[in-house]
């Protein structure tokens, strides 16, 4: 009997043998709500960022049109920062929401608010409700709840230039802010799990080797990613982590992450990473440029290459362009479902 998409993903993350890799797009940083899908269905952004029913409908449309074997919500990386006090520009149909202004000019100034009260504010409840709607309507399809990682969330509430310097200059303040942010992220993720999320994906684009370098990555990113991962693991669901950018400078830190899978950017050779660290479950990493600008047969060939290399979960390498075509994404998902035979 063939596995359901949820079983396949969870078995893969549990290091069990499966018939073929799952092909997913997690939402959040890797939002798959592309313009083509929204224009066809009329379930559009930015409205879908605010309402659980629309969010669930759009996630269902994406699953249906693209062939990705999951629901991925929310469609942005600003849910956390909004609740923590940042001003958000909610963007347009084609342009994702972004931080318009960080409320704090220094880590020392961050006001620590009551986490339970924050969970009642902003769009937190809508995202959790969308998870519930999706998990009930399609129990065989995994809901992946996406959250923004601790370093990126902290750099979304404190002016990022100052934040980065204070990682050196004001270590105590920095650790206090990251600890607070991590506690909040754990609570948010737990709400998503309560709503029925089968897995949580953490995207932390500020926590890269290129930006932080190996020392700060180890001191802050590894510490607080692991704190958040451990907090989510306590609820019994697996955690995926996406690391942006070139990984060379921080590679030795990667196996120290407690996550159940590691997703990387396109220029990381996942096959080599797997050879070096066979214990890792790898996820990725089809070029998002190829998905936006390439042709379906080339997309299929590259996807087949990833399957052949034994990548455990096939997924876009980073944030998808909202201008990517359905045809290209279908070429990717269909190739995986056909057992990795390229066109």
């Amino acid at each position: 009997m063939s596995l359901s998409p949820k079983e396949r993903l969870l078995d893969t993350l549990g290091k069990k043998k499966v018939d073929r890799p799952p092909v997913v797009c997690t939402g959040g940083m890797m939002n798959a709500a592309i313009v083509d899908v929204m224009n066809r269905t009329g379930h559009t952004l930015p409205e879908g960022h605010f309402r659980s029913d629309l969010m669930a409908e759009l996630a269902t449309d994406v699953n249906h049109d693209t062939g990705f074997e999951n629901f991925g919500i929310p469609f942005c990386m600003t849910v956390e920062a909004e609740v923590l006090g940042s001003e958000i520009d909610f963007g347009t149909l084609a342009c994702e929401p972004k931080i318009a202004r960080e409320p704090f000019v220094s880590n020392a100034q961050v006001q620590f608010r009551d986490i339970d009260r924050m969970l009642d504010s902003g769009r937190i409840g809508q995202v959790a409700e969308a998870a519930l709607l999706l998990s009930r309507s399609n129990p065989d399809v995994p809901v992946i709840g996406s959250i923004t990682g601790p370093v990126s969330t902290a750099a979304s509430i404190v002016d990022p230039m100052i934040f980065l310097k204070e990682l050196h200059k004001k270590r105590e303040d920095s650790h206090r802010v990251l600890d607070y942010v991590s506690d909040f992220l754990i609570s948010f993720a737990r709400l998503l799990v309560d709503g029925g999320a089968s897995a949580i994906c953490i995207g932390d684009p500020t926590a890269t080797g290129e930006i932080l370098g190996p020392r700060l990555f180890q001191e802050y990113a590894v510490t607080y990613l692991n704190k958040v991962i451990d907090g989510i693991h306590a609820t019994g669901v697996p955690v995926l982590v996406h690391i942006c950018g070139e990984m060379k400078a921080v590679k030795p830190s990667i196996p120290q992450l407690h996550s159940d899978a590691i997703s990387t950017d396109a220029f990381v050779n996942l096959k080599l990473l797997k050879e070096e660290y066979p214990q890792l479950t790898t996820m990725g990493n089809l070029s998002t440029f190829l998905l936006e600008l390439g042709e379906p047969d080339k997309v299929s060939r590259h996807t087949a290459g990833l399957v052949r290399d034994g990548i455990d979960i096939i997924s876009p390498a980073c944030g998808l362009s909202t201008a990517s075509s359905i045809r290209n994404i279908q070429a990717m998902t269909q190739t995986v479902k056909d057992g990795g035979r390229g066109w």
């Binding site: 520009d89 084609a94 342009c95 994702e96 972004k98 931080i99 318009a100 990022p160 230039m161 980065l164 310097k165 990682l167 050196h168 200059k169 290129e210 930006i211 932080l212 370098g213 700060l216 950018g245 400078a249 998002t288 440029f289 936006e292 944030g319 362009s321 909202t322 201008a323």
Partner: protein, 221 residues
Amino acid sequence: MGQIDNELFKRLSDAVVDMDEDEAIAAANEVVERGIDAYQAIEKGLSAGMERAGQFFDEEEYFIPELLMCSDAMYAGMDVLKPHLRSDGAAEKHKVVIGVVEGDTHDIGKNLVKIMLETSGFDVTDLGRDIPPARFVETAKEIGANIIALSTLMTTTMDGMGAVVRQLSEEGIRDRFKVIVGGGPISQGFADRIGADGYAVNAADAIRLARALVAPAEAAA
């Protein structure tokens, strides 16, 4: 030039590399007290230090937080020395308009390039983030810029870079400015496609590119 001058320049340079704002200020004050030429102190002390810091960045010894702290030390020393610059001392600087294109608010990369350009002697007008194409063009015309520098981290906003080049062409002023682009999703191929004059992979590379682009103009003049 005396030994004391050189020692002070070295202290300034080291203060920048060591990310030590207080030391940069102390050394700069000593330069002023001793009546040493402020322009030389900036060039041979602070800028030289920033250049070394940039080299460490290139070699992956320093990363973005370290480079930002070096630049804080540099600016701290600069604030002390600037009032003592003789206005005829410095040559006319090349002008750069820099900003993050519309739709994107990620500006760490842009800020780094700006800092490195300033320390390399460029006069930089920073428009900030989320900037529509027309504003780059207007500002470049207004200040008589040599270079327009465009940054983005998001694939969704890359087209704004092409729009700047197109607008320059439509207005018939494309050859008055050099357009350089950079940021996570940008590549040399992309720069070529939109008709930009250059692409830089990081801040240190951006300085080399900017210098190379203004150099022929100098030779011709």
